[in-house]
């Protein structure tokens, strides 16, 4: 098989890595926000870390290229919902701070 001159699989793999890196950064911000100290915030931080770990596990094959070319079938929705979930955790934190 001739090598794809556009290196599309490699570019896609790197795009997954960038995205997971961005998700990691958001997770760190989420944890830092939760360091305010209330028990409620610890729960939010726990949820954020869980979502981050689950996404990393599910997307690992797509991001590293290990194993067959197809990654886990939940990669797409799970990664998007993890991002949305981080946003909702942040909203909950801000609303809690208003009381």
């Amino acid at each position: 098989m001739t090598r794809d001159p556009g290196l599309q699989p490699e570019r896609t793999r790197l795009a997954w890595r960038r995205t997971l890196l961005a998700l990691t950064g958001v997770t760190v911000l989420e944890i830092r926000l939760a360091l305010a100290g209330h028990a409620f915030d610890a729960v939010l931080a726990g949820l954020a870390v869980t979502a981050w770990l689950a996404t990393l596990l599910v997307d690992w094959r797509r991001a590293t290229g290990a194993g067959p070319r197809r990654g886990h079938r939940w990669s797409f929705p799970l990664t998007a919902l993890a991002a949305a979930g981080m946003a909702l955790l942040g909203v909950l934190h801000v609303l809690r701070g208003l009381r």
Binding site: T19, F76, P77, A80, A87, G97
Partner: protein, 131 residues
């Protein structure tokens, strides 16, 4: 509401996606995948902005302005992320069926919201500088 659950089910079950039409040149699928990821990073950037506003901005003189900025960015980011996966699935389907790609007003609406938000903040900063 039925359509929403139907769409969510479809995101999690790509076998159904793969059952329609014909398998396209894998490069088209990969390009669609990268577009999805680029949108997701756009959403994550907005979310990071919201989280940063919540913890790094000092309390603003306008009541709750900091919280409003933060929640607005977070909700916008969440919308971008969810819409990204939906658009990815619809585009994949269109490619397989050799149909027109789904048209979307979303990028234009997002650009307008960001621009208007930025302008409002400019006004807030100037009003504070003068007042």
């Amino acid at each position: 509401m039925g359509g929403v659950w139907e769409a969510i089910r479809r995101w999690f079950d790509p076998r159904e996606l793969r059952s329609v039409g014909t398998t396209p040149d894998y490069r088209f699928s990969l390009a669609n995948e990268r577009t999805f990821l680029a949108w997701l990073r756009t959403g994550l950037a907005l979310i990071a902005g919201g989280l940063a506003a919540a913890q790094f901005l000092p309390k603003l003189p306008l009541a709750h302005l900091r919280e409003v900025i933060s929640v607005a960015l977070l909700l916008l980011g969440a919308t971008v992320a969810v819409r990204a996966v939906d658009h990815w699935a619809r585009t994949e389907r269109a490619i397989r069926l050799n149909e027109e790609l789904p048209a979307s007003r979303f990028p234009a609406v997002l650009a307008l919201i960001v621009a208007i938000g930025a302008l409002l903040l400019v006004v807030a900063v100037l009003a504070r500088g003068v007042g």
